[in-house]
């Protein structure tokens, strides 16, 4: 063979491995997938399954030991008045936080997707992401100081002669309290602040994929800007809003630090789980509490799908 049509085949081990994988791409994909699949299968799904199992055990009231026998009594306990209160309270908070995040995030995401270019876009990403780089605890404590009775918000309200407004808010039943840092209003504000990047980014990504030509086509066909928003922009942004709401909603459902630091003494689901698995040692009830957010999210996603939120994907 005087003129070889291929490069000479190397006989190195690495070359042979490369050649083998080139000829068998499926084997290669499988090999790449095995580690993450093992991780997800054993560590993730496995622990979830263990959790589910625990929720079907019960706690012996006298000995304080977990009885490893199948029973629904733990779930019956979950449905007691006090526990239902915890669930409803958390659910309401998560829903309100999600709605507030969506309303605040949308204009920001819209600006970033449609108008920000070059350095304004870089600034946008920096502004949205930077809070995520600093410690969560530091931010929550910072908010506690901001919201405290001696904090900057109270000072601003009195300087602007708006104490009547602040006092009026704090005097409201349920959501009020002795100061912002000991009220649901405070908890709500901190939740919205902490989770809002998780709402902005998916909405921005969804809006980024809406070409300007769609808006022009809509206007061309007679739609005023308001109509274009509701018939074109909003439906196309909806998958992003749903994705963002999955974050804000589930993160609020499970969080136990923010309500612990900023808020009143009434428990949220996360705090209930924390208390039950710790001092009380009631792992089965803690597990049953943990199943609640998962069920809620499953129902939420099912409803969103039924409403066509993912049709554009």
């Amino acid at each position: 063979m005087s003129a070889a049509s291929t490069r000479p085949l190397g006989d190195g081990v690495l070359t042979r491995i490369s050649d083998y994988f080139f000829a068998n791409p499926k084997t290669f994909t499988l090999l790449l997938l095995i580690p993450p699949l093992l991780w997800i299968g054993i560590v993730y799904v496995g622990s979830l399954f263990a959790l589910l199992l625990q929720s079907f055990y019960s706690l012996d009231d006298f000995s304080g030991l977990v009885v490893r026998e199948f029973t629904l009594s733990t779930y019956a306990q979950l449905l007691e008045e006090a526990n239902i209160q915890v669930i409803l309270r958390t659910l309401t908070m998560a829903a309100l936080v999600t709605i507030a995040c969506a309303i605040i995030a949308f204009p920001i995401a819209y600006y970033a997707a449609r108008y920000a270019r070059g350095w304004t876009k870089a600034l946008f990403y920096l502004a949205v992401m930077m809070p995520l780089w600093s410690s969560y605890l530091v931010k929550v404590y910072a908010w506690k100081l901001i919201l405290a009775k001696e904090g900057i918000l109270t000072w601003m309200a009195s300087s602007l002669h708006l104490m009547w407004l602040l006092d009026g808010m704090l005097a409201l039943p349920i959501i009020g309290g002795p100061s912002l840092s000991f009220s649901y209003i405070g908890t709500f504000l901190v939740f919205v602040y902490i989770w809002i990047p998780f709402m902005i980014l998916p909405i921005q990504a969804a809006l980024e994929r809406v070409p300007a030509a769609y808006l022009e086509a809509s206007a061309d066909l007679g739609a005023e800007p308001r109509q274009t928003f509701w018939t074109v922009i909003f439906p196309l942004a909806l998958p992003g809003i749903v994705a963002g709401s999955i974050f804000t909603f589930s993160l609020t459902l499970g969080d136990y630090i923010i309500p612990q630091i900023v808020g009143n003494s009434r428990l949220m689901i996360g705090q209930a789980v924390y208390t039950l698995q710790g001092t009380a040692g009631n792992i089965p009830l803690a597990a049953a509490f943990t199943v609640v957010p998962m069920l809620i999210m499953a129902v939420y996603l099912w409803v969103a799908k039924r409403m066509g939120a993912f049709d554009v994907l």
Partner: protein, 337 residues
């Protein structure tokens, strides 16, 4: 009767760039009007000015006698077929077509009936329930057309409507668009950079260059009687002969256009009949294009393209040939631009 579209000294600038530079233009009702030019020549800007996506910095635009200064797109009786169709992905074909009617508040029954008719008109009957993602490029084009026409616009704007289609489909759509325009009697204004498309479809063609209209006329006018080197070269890539060469070869001392297909190629001993001009040169390239062959011939310093039926020449690279053409085929042009 007032003009369908009238541009009065219209300018539109983007920063330093004059996308439209003092454009004055009349488009008559019922015309199939083409705006032809290379990319960046201002033709699309002029289309967007009619649609209302752009507003003029100077001058005025009238649509059927009404000034539309500051009138937003959603208040104009004009509809557009977009270059990439811009069909809404979250709606079915039927919902896309009925979108304009829905916005105007038409009832369900009326919307469905009209969408059905419009889809039948563009030869997509029964496609209402399909998703736009299931359609081919040609079908999307038709849906975009139906979506615009269902509103009964006074002027239909088409932005490079056939650019994304393959050759066969493009020729078919050209025919259909022509027929549709004749049947509906609506004024069509369409933008293209494809001179063949403009010449075969339009009643009248405006040729754009650097934000200005350099010539307006019937397809025969702009093809046979180009007024400038730019038009001669852009429409059908004519030979542009320098004044001295033209004068020496049966023309006058002006820049002169000579269409490649008017030139015959023969041997250097060939007789030149009365009323014909000729030039001898050397073949420097041969470009076989199926039905025709294009030859480049150097005559002294001037390179002349000749287009002959594929079977009509035996000339080979480097051969000496005699180019022969009827003298009236030479068109002297204005100025030296």
């Amino acid at each position: 009767m007032s003009q369908a579209v009238r541009f009065e000294n219209v300018s539109r600038r983007f920063g330093e760039v004059r996308a439209a530079d003092h454009v004055t233009l009349d488009i008559a009702p019922g015309e199939f009007f083409a705006m032809l030019g290379p990319s960046g020549s201002g033709k699309t800007t002029c289309l967007r000015l009619i649609a209302g996506f752009e507003q003029p910095d100077e001058g005025h635009i009238e649509i059927f006698g009404q000034r539309v200064d500051g009138v937003p797109p959603y208040k104009r009786d004009v509809n557009t077929v977009f270059q990439d169709y811009a069909l809404f992905p979250h709606m079915t074909v039927g919902e896309n077509v009925a979108y304009g009617l829905m916005i105007k508040g038409a009832g369900q029954a009326e919307r469905e009936a009209k969408a059905k008719d419009a889809l039948a008109m563009v030869k997509l009957p029964g496609y209402e329930v399909r998703r736009t993602s299931q359609l081919s490029g040609g079908q999307r084009q038709r849906v975009a057309l139906a979506r615009a026409l269902v509103n009964g616009p006074k002027v239909l704007l088409l932005d490079e409507p056939l650019g994304a289609l393959d050759l066969k489909l493009r020729e078919q759509m050209q025919e259909e668009l022509k027929t549709l325009q004749k049947d509906l009697g609506i004024t069509f204004v369409f933008v293209t950079h494809d001179q063949g498309e403009a010449l075969s479809m339009a009643n009248r063609v405006a040729i754009f260059n650097e934000g200005r209209i350099v010539q307006v006329g019937s397809p025969e006018d702009v093809y046979e009687r180009p007024q400038s080197r730019f038009v001669a070269d852009f429409v059908g890539s004519s030979n542009v002969l320098p004044p001295a060469f033209a004068a020496a070869h049966g023309g006058v001392a002006r820049w002169t256009s000579l269409r490649p297909e008017r030139i015959g190629v023969g041997s250097v001993s060939e007789q030149v009949p009365d009323g014909f001009a000729s030039a001898d040169g050397t073949v420097t390239s041969i470009n076989y294009q199926g039905p025709v062959t294009r030859l480049a011939v150097m005559v002294g310093e001037v390179r002349i393209m000749a287009e002959v039926p594929a079977s009509a020449t035996t000339a080979r690279l480097g051969d000496g040939v005699r180019l022969v053409w009827p003298k009236p085929a030479m068109r002297a042009m204005d100025g030296d631009a």
